[in-house]
Symmetry: C2
Subunit: 229 residues, 2 copies
DNA sequence: ACCTGAACACCGTTCAAGT
DNA sequence: ACCTGAACACCGTTCAAGT
């Protein structure tokens, strides 16, 4: 069940590998937990290992966080916090579509850097201020275009779902341990000619993402035009 | 960490609650594991509890499955197996869009019945024949419409990602234990006027899904028309 | 061949004790 | 207040033993 050999310096150490024993705070614990998640995956993060990593008794955490779930809540907040970075560099003179695509690509780029946290992000409801700010900003942008309140909610929810869903299949770690025996399984595809032919052409995740994003926006825009006429 | 109080009859029992001690087979183990996942969630499924449920020593499973990961592989296969049910009732005289919407809604309906398995489905690569058959069928349908091989792959991948992503936020169980304190957090939304206004209107998941599905198809269809002219 | 029991190296968390 | 150590009720899996 061990996934990676915990090699190298402990996460609570400086560049030269000297252990940095700093005062335990909620923020510090969460920061190291995120680093550990990135390195070892969800199933590789335990209170006990986190304690070892920080050179501290695992029970010490319970003075700063009620339980492990709260640790995950903190990690989600931390990752969404990275999303707002560069939000203000948006060029307000660009078209709404250019701005929206920039927003979503920024969202995707940040989440993509934390493949092992995707599952947690996708399923834990979060009221992280940075996420709310991001959503608020996006909705404001789209409302000015003329979408109804009803459609606005659907749009941002769908954009988010698609983005996360796509990332999950793209870089997500399998829940329940690594899959076995894709060897003869991959050959099975030849029994499905349509599928085999489509898969043969290869696959560029970034281009794929933006193409579908544009298609979704085309669809929503078409809906907007129809409602106006 | 206990999520639900394991009340009622064990899963390996008939309608009257009599324990059914049948011979252990891979299929039977997987069937009960799926039922247990549906009832108790991913974190509530353990080899030991599964053993207790079946009135058997947990180690007995290792004669039918190499490890717990393989159990998850089996469960994924079983759920995708349900997708093909009713695949042949499709009316081939319907338009391609009607057929595709029917296919995707069928896919979504089946997955929706196993909220706790969604995470596993989303992240474990699967070569389940039923899933391959489903994809093959879908691609065949769309190719006849005129889409390129390149676009075909993107379409089915995106449709799948969106469907699963949406279901995850809709009915998915939070990874890492239940979230706490949404009480004052929900009030926070008032600080984000655009968001608050959009959310106020309420939300119908089924309508939401089909609206976005239609928008995506509109977008892809538009792309098809542009490429032809 | 199929199932069992003991054992090993892990978990999260509680609780009493230290400073 | 913050951290520790022992303890409790769990995990997946190995391995030798039974039938």
């Amino acid at each position: 069940m061990t996934r990676r050999p915990n090699s190298g310096n402990p996460l609570g150490a400086d560049a030269e590998g000297r252990p940095v024993r700093r005062a335990l705070t909620r923020e510090y614990i969460i920061r190291i937990a995120l680093a550990m998640l990135d390195r070892d995956g969800v199933e590789g993060l335990s209170m006990r290992k986190l304690g070892a990593e920080l050179g501290v008794n695992p029970m010490a955490f319970y003075h700063h966080l009620p339980n492990k779930s709260a640790l995950f809540d903190g990690v989600v907040e931390a990752v969404f916090g990275e999303v707002t970075v560069g939000l203000d560099t948006l060029n307000r003179e660009d078209s709404w579509r250019e701005q929206l695509v920039a927003l979503m690509c920024q969202f995707r780029t940040v989440l993509r850097q934390h493949p092992n946290v995707l599952l947690v992000l996708a399923t834990r409801p979060s009221y992280a201020p940075s996420l709310m700010a991001f959503g608020d900003r996006t909705i404001g942008l789209l409302r000015d275009v003329g979408f109804t309140e009803h459609d606005l909610l659907i749009m941002i929810s769908s954009l988010r779902s698609y983005t996360i869903g796509q990332l999950l299949v793209e870089v997500g770690q399998p829940v329940g341990g690594p899959t076995t025996a894709p060897d003869e399984a991959a050959a099975l595809i030849s029994h499905y000619p349509n599928l085999a032919k489509a898969v043969a052409g290869g696959y560029d995740p970034d281009a794929h993402y933006e193409l579908t994003l544009q298609a979704m926006l085309d669809g929503f825009e078409q809906r907007l035009r129809r409602s106006k006429s």
